[in-house]
């Protein structure tokens, strides 16, 4: 069972970026890269050698691995609909959020290893915007907790659809875009380093470490997609198979949503990003207040 779960996460994660790119290509009327493109990249990178900056310490290579482990563990805590979570206990939601934070710490640390201006810039942006994203994330989790009266993801993520669900969905979706450095926060496939966050941080990585980073990123994207879906859909009240299907469908919809937003939105100017994140935070906050009041009533 556990093996299956791990396989699901590890194996399916790289699909999402592929799908997103396909969607973008369709919208743009191109054929675009194959859906499995990322798999090919990962395999190739895994066999390549590594070019290491003269300034970098071994931590430069180790950090991506730790980050990947952190994300994997976080994913392990996220319940997959009827299958439940790999590990569930009181307060696991906090562990999940902080595992993602650990991953962020590692990537940012690694970015500063090389002493490159661009990577420092990227790291600064990553950790700074995370402050607002974190606030939004906690507001969302709190509203789920208040709504379901529980602090364990398994129960929190099968809520009865409440008044605040729509707000919550919108908020979480923006957080997803921000945390995974998608448009309008970041453009994964630009090549103008000045404008990048995540890509700027990994400029100097190559070979297996880069592969690990890319895979970790895709897994994080999947994690958020699952989280968003499960937070919105009342999976708990559906029969197992239907729930599984609903979950899969939800993830697919989120992916398409990301793809569409990337094709129709342009990257924002950096000074607008805090506004957008604040909006996400407010959305989550309102859903929290709705949940709180709803409980009182």
């Amino acid at each position: 069972m556990m093996i299956v779960r791990i396989f699901l996460w590890v194996a399916l994660a790289p699909l999402l970026p592929g799908l997103i790119n396909k969607v973008k290509a369709w919208v743009a009327g191109r054929r675009g890269p194959p859906v499995l493109q990322l798999y090919y990249d990962l395999i190739r990178l895994w066999q390549k050698g590594v070019v290491l900056s003269t300034l970098a310490s071994p931590a430069f290579v180790v950090a991506p691995a730790v980050a990947w482990v952190a994300i994997a563990c976080a994913a392990f805590l996220v319940p997959l609909g009827p299958a439940g979570a790999g590990l569930s206990f009181r307060g696991d939601v906090l562990l999940m959020v902080y595992l993602l934070a650990l991953a962020r710490f590692c990537t940012a640390w690694a970015a500063l290893e090389t002493g490159s201006a661009f990577e420092g810039m990227g790291a600064a942006r990553e950790v700074s915007y995370a402050v607002l994203a974190e606030a939004a994330m906690f507001a969302a989790m709190l509203s789920l907790a208040v709504q379901t009266g529980s602090v364990s993801l398994v129960d929190m993520l099968s809520p009865a659809p409440g008044a605040g669900t729509a707000l919550l969905a919108a908020g979480l979706f923006i957080v997803l875009l921000a945390e995974n450095c998608r448009v309008p926060f970041d453009d994964p496939n630009t090549h103008l380093e000045l404008t990048m966050i995540h890509e700027a941080m990994v400029l100097d990585h190559s070979g297996p470490p880069l592969a690990v980073i890319l895979h970790g990123a895709s897994m994080k994207l999947l994690l958020f997609a699952v989280l968003l879906t499960a937070a919105v859909l009342p999976l708990g009240s559906l029969p197992p198979l239907a729930a599984a299907a609903a979950l899969a469908g939800g993830v697919l919809v989120v992916t398409l949503g990301v793809g569409l937003s990337e094709s129709f939105l342009a990257r924002f100017a950096f000074r607008h990003m805090p506004l957008l994140l604040t909006m996400a935070f407010l959305l989550c906050l309102f859903s929290l207040l709705v949940a709180w009041k709803g409980g009182a009533a």
Binding site: V69, V93, L99, A117, L203, P208, W292
Partner: protein, 643 residues
Amino acid sequence: MSGGLVFAAVCLLAAMAMAQRSTRASFALTLAGTLAGLVASLTILLGPDDWEWTGAFFLGGERVHLRLDGVSAIFLVLVCVIGGAGAAYAREYWSDSENPATAARGRVWWNALILSMGLVLMISNGLHFLMAWEAFALCGYFLITLDNRRPEVRKAGWLYLASSHVGTLALFAFFVMLATHTGTWNLGPVRDVPPPLFWLALFGFGMKAGFFPFHIWLPSAHANAPSHVSAIMSGVAIKMGVYGIVRFGGWLPVPANAGHVVIGLGAASAVLGIAFAMAQNDIKRLLAYCSVENIGVILIGLGGALVARTHGNAAWGQLALAGALLHVWNHGLFKSLLFFGAGSVLHATGTREMSRLGGLWRSMPWTAGFFALGAVAVSGLPPLNGFASEWLIYLGLFEAATTRSGFAWAALPSAILLAMAGALALAAFVKAGGMIFLGTPRTKPAAHAQESRAGMLAPMALLAAACAVIGVAPGLVWPAIARAAGSWNPAWAVARTPFSTLGPAGFALAILAAVAGFWLWKKSRANGLRRDLTWDCGYRNPTSRMQYTSGSFAGISAGWFFWAFAPERKFRRPRGPFPSGSLRLERVSETVLERLIVPAGAIITRLSHAALGLQHGRLQAYILYLVAGLAALGIFVFLEGKP
């Protein structure tokens, strides 16, 4: 039990006596004393009953009365651990060879500080508490100003002394009122005193705890003190203020809204403290401000506990309290570790300015490693101890939220603010670690740094180990914490550990991370690992000046807290086709101090100079004053005596 404590006291006194004659003997005695104290406090924490001792003799007309219960023991453990580790660190860091004038004096005051803090924790008589409290404050002053030939040290020391005295006088009033109401100087749970008395205690102890806005003295004092002193001041001494608040929050009847106020103060000082930390360029100032944040974290937990206790001992209150108490330990450990690290850097390079450091991991790998570990811990990331305690506090707040009871509303904003503080802490310490240890050296001293000797590394290793152990096996310390929580509020005496799953999870995470990291390193080596210049978008000649600086790293978040920083800016734009010089200076001001306290002080100073103007030496005027006084008193008495 009593024997152990007496032994500890005797050892510390002997260490003070030996400080001049023999460094080694003095150190051995300090170590023995702290160990004895540690054992004693641990036996209290792991045993069911408290230790109490009533002396046969009187001081100042009051019988000497000591008590060591769960709450005191928690703090005493910290005192002993950091006291011992710091003494070890100081042997190298502040050695007789480098500071012949002050090393011995430092040892004397160090032991005096440990002793007085221990007494503060154990004394249960108001009069003697004040005595120990002042002794502790003065020891702190003399430690901070060890190197009092440097004017900035003197300034910082005076600021510390002055603000500490403000708190002390508030405590004078507090204890006298307490004694007047209860009719005795003995301390203990009391029922029939007016709740507002708690505010006085909160203020008096708050000045020492240094949470916003009473932190004015903290950054400069902790930045300018010798690093081992900064470590104990920041890791332990400010906890004495916390102890006072915990202690009397538990003993006094508190006002209905006390908990909410404490949570508010905590949240404010958590966010603002870490925001200021993020904006600092001086590593020790950064650490000092980070202490402000962590005190805020502790207060949030404590406030939650107060709210819960005033509303029928809600169970979640116990989690919050336990979190706060555990965070007292954790902050003590990793903050001392970080200050030791900063001290090593300062010792090796002679500067605290992060913009003058960089790339030190190459020359100081061990220091870099320990500092990185401390950074992970202070950012509250799993699997280290910082996460364990913050997790407890979060859990308490979340469970409070799930109750949806009206008085628990404060849990929502405080949880969110705590999260923001956590994220900012992460940013601040990525910046600190990166600027100091990563990239290329920015100056010559940084390039030619030397790794510290084992004498300084060993204490850091000890603290790092402690952080890791509490992180991966928080279950080990739970009984102690639960015991303390129980003695704070008997209603919370029994509790089963919430760490049953978290602990193993953390452990697994640690193992997995290690394995994965090792494996990836091996894999990369196997694939062939080539060293080359940083790929700076093709630029082939990167220099240290092209690195991202600490200022620019903090730029984004500094922009958000512009209103709080009120930075002083100097900005000369590059002009013309061939711009000559251009610069952009930005200094974050000590807002509360420079915008509030200093102006007020200036007004008072002007007043005093006006008054001195009256003492101008002309006798005729002096007699005129006398006559004026006579007339004034006459009129006063005339009006008074009329009825």
